[in-house]
Amino acid sequence: MIKLEAVSFQHPNSRELAPFHLDVPELFIATGEKVAIVGPSGSGKTTLLNLISGLFTPSTGSVRVLDTEVSALPDSERRRFRLRHLGMVFQDFELLDYLDAQDNILLPSRINSGLALNESLRQRARSLAEGAGISALLKRHPKDLSQGEKQRVALCRALLPQPKVILADEATGNLDPTNKERIMSLLVERANAEEATLLAVTHDHNLLHWFDRVIDFEAFIQGGSH
C-alpha cells in the first residue's frame, strides 16, 4: 500500500532559476496493484517516485508506504526502509561498470551489513538470473551486455531483497520494442509472484496494457485526488 496525503515538495536545488514545485493532494495505491504513471517530462513523475522511496522528503504532508510513514523517518531509517522493502529500476540501469552482472545483482546486499550475503541469497540471485534468461551472462561486465540484458540485470538487482513495492522509472525507456515487452513481462510476472505493488513511470503508451491502472500525472496534479 502506498498513500500520499497533502504532499507538497519544492526541489532544494531549484529555488533560484527554475523553481520546481509539486503538490499531490492525495494518492492511494493498493497492495499488489500495478499502476502506470504517464505524463510530460518535467511534470514531477520521477520526483513522486523519489518521495515514495524516501530519497526526497516532502515539505509538507505525509508519505506512507506499507503502513510506515516514510516521510517522518530520519535519513538512516529511510535508507533502511528503502533497502528492505523497495526495489528500484532505473531508465539507464545504473549498473556499476567495474562489477560483473552477478556482483551487480548482489550489490545491495554487499553495501548493507543489514542484508546478510549468504548462500541462500546467492542462490536466489542465480534463480532470478535464470528466470530473466541471463544466467549465462553472470560473469560479464555491463560493457559486454546489450541494453536489454543490462536492464534484466538491474531488474534482478531490484528484486533480490523480495521487495513489497517495486518502483520503475522509465525502466524500458532505452530498450527496443521486443526488449520492452520482455522486461515488462518479467516485471509484472515477478510483481505477481511476490504479491508486490508496482508503480512505473513510462512514456510508452504501448505498454499500458500491462497495468491495472494508469494515472495521467499532469491531469492528476491539476485535478486533485485520484
Partner: protein, 384 residues
C-alpha cells in the same frame, strides 16, 4: 567492509590507471630507501677498508686520489713516486712497506703491482691455483675471475695505455696462476701481479733474443721484444736503470705500534717533500661528509617530488570522484550510507598505498645488491 571490496574491484577493473598510479608511488617510495641503502653500503665499504689501512704514503697532491687509488684502485691516480719511498719506510724500521703500482688495466679491470706482503696484510687467500711466484704471474680477484670465466692456466692481455702513443706501454700477456677467494672488497675486482711485472708492462724491464751478427758481420738491429713471459724466455728478462727510481703510485705503511705511526707521520710533515703521508680513515670520513650533504640535498628533492605527487594524486582522486558522482549516487539510492563515498576513497587510497609500498619494498630488496656497490663503483670509476 564493502568499501574495500568495491575499492578493490574498481582498482582491478581500471588496471592500467591503477598500475600507473602504483608505479609512480612505488618509485617515489623506493628511491629514498635505495638511496639510503646505497649510502649505508658505501659508508660501510669505504670506512671498513680505510680503517683497516693505517697509513698511506704517496705523491704530494690530492689526498683523496691517493686514498682512492691505493684502497679501491680507482682511475684517478696520483702522480707516481719512486720505489725509494718504499725502501725508506723499510729502512726506518718503523713499519712494513707494501708498494702499490696502479696504472695498467686489462680492459676495465685494474692490474695492481705489489708484493706478497699485500696478500698477508689484507688476509687474501688463493682459492684455486697458486700465489704469485714468477715474473708474469697474475692472481685474479674472485669477481674478475667470475666475470671473465678465468681459471689458473688461462692468460689475459693488458690493455695499452694509448693506442697512438708509440712510446707508451705495450700489451703483455699475463699468466693466471691463481684465483683469490672472495673477500667482498675492492680486491675481488682487481688483478694482482708482482710489482716487477708492472715495470715490464711499463717497458722498464724487457726480454728479447740475443742480438746476432749478420752475414756481413754487423749486429742485427731487428731484435724482437717478448710480449709474453714464458719458462723459455723468462731468463732473458732484465731491467735497466736504478731499481730505486722505478715508479709506484703509493705505499701502504703498516707501523709496528702507535708510536711508530706517529714517528712515521712526522717524517712527511715537510711540505717541500715530494711525498705525503695520509691516514685513509680521515680522508674517507671527509668524503662521506660530502656525500651526506649530497644525500640531504637528494632527500629534499625527493620530498618535494613526494609532496608534488601526493598533491597530483589528491587532485586525480578528486577529479575521479567528480566523474564518479553518478556511481556514488547509485550506491546511495541502493541503500548505501552517505559516508560510503569517503570510506570508498579511503579504501582505494589504502589499497594503492599498500600495493605501492609492497612493490617499493620488493624493488628495494631486488635492487639492494646493485645499489650496494653502485656508489662505490661510481666513486672509484668502475673498479670497486
Amino acid at each position: 567492509m564493502p568499501e574495500f571490496y568495491l575499492a578493490w574491484r574498481y582498482l582491478n577493473f581500471h588496471r592500467l590507471q591503477t598500475a600507473v598510479l602504483v608505479s609512480v608511488l612505488a618509485i617515489i617510495m623506493a628511491v629514498p630507501a635505495l638511496l639510503n641503502t646505497v649510502l649505508q653500503a658505501t659508508e660501510s665499504q669505504l670506512t671498513e677498508r680505510a680503517d683497516a689501512t693505517p697509513l698511506l704514503v704517496g705523491a704530494r697532491g690530492s689526498r683523496l686520489d691517493l686514498a682512492m687509488s691505493s684502497l679501491y684502485f680507482s682511475d684517478d691516480r696520483p702522480e707516481p713516486i719512486s720505489m725509494v719511498a718504499s725502501e725508506a719506510i723499510w729502512d726506518s724500521g718503523l713499519a712494513i712497506a707494501i708498494p702499490l703500482y696502479n696504472r695498467f688495466r686489462v680492459q676495465s679491470d685494474p692490474v695492481i703491482g705489489t708484493t706478497l706482503d699485500y696478500f698477508r696484510f689484507r688476509n687474501l687467500s688463493v682459492d684455486q691455483g697458486r700465489p704469485l711466484t714468477v715474473l708474469g704471474d697474475a692472481v685474479v680477484g674472485a669477481r674478475v675471475a667470475e666475470r671473465r670465466g678465468l681459471q689458473p692456466g688461462d692468460t689475459m692481455i693488458t690493455s695499452p695505455d694509448n693506442l697512438f702513443d708509440l712510446a707508451g706501454s705495450y700489451p703483455l700477456r699475463l699468466n693466471v696462476s691463481g684465483i683469490l677467494a672472495p673477500a667482498d672488497s675492492a680486491d675481488d675486482d682487481a688483478i694482482f701481479v708482482d710489482v716487477k711485472t708492472t715495470w715490464v708492462i711499463e717497458g722498464i724491464g724487457h726480454g728479447h733474443d740475443d742480438a746476432e751478427l749478420d752475414d756481413s758481420g754487423q749486429m742485427n738491429a731487428r731484435i724482437e721484444q717478448f710480449r709474453e713471459i714464458t719458462d723459455a724466455n723468462r731468463d732473458t728478462f732484465h731491467f735497466h736503470g736504478d731499481p730505486e727510481t722505478y715508479p709506484i703510485t703509493g705505499v701502504i705503511a703498516v707501523p709496528h705500534d702507535e708510536r711508530s705511526l706517529t714517528l712515521l707521520r712526522g717524517r712527511y710533515l715537510d711540505t717541500e717533500q715530494a711525498e705525503q703521508a695520509v691516514v685513509p680513515s680521515t680522508v674517507i670520513r671527509a668524503l662521506l661528509d660530502q656525500l651526506l650533504t649530497i644525500k640531504r640535498l637528494v632527500d629534499a628533492i625527493v620530498l618535494i617530488i613526494l609532496v608534488a605527487t601526493l598533491v597530483s594524486v589528491s587532485l586525480a582522486i578528486g577529479l575521479t570522484l567528480k566523474l564518479r558522482q553518478k556511481e556514488l549516487h547509485t550506491l546511495y539510492k541502493l541503500g548505501a550510507r552517505r559516508s560510503l563515498t569517503a570510506r570508498l576513497v579511503f579504501a582505494e587510497t589504502i589499497i594503492v598505498l599498500i600495493i605501492s609500498a609492497s612493490i617499493a619494498t620488493l624493488l628495494t630488496i631486488a635492487l639492494n645488491p646493485v645499489a650496494t656497490n653502485l656508489a662505490t663503483r661510481l666513486l672509484v670509476g668502475g673498479a670497486a
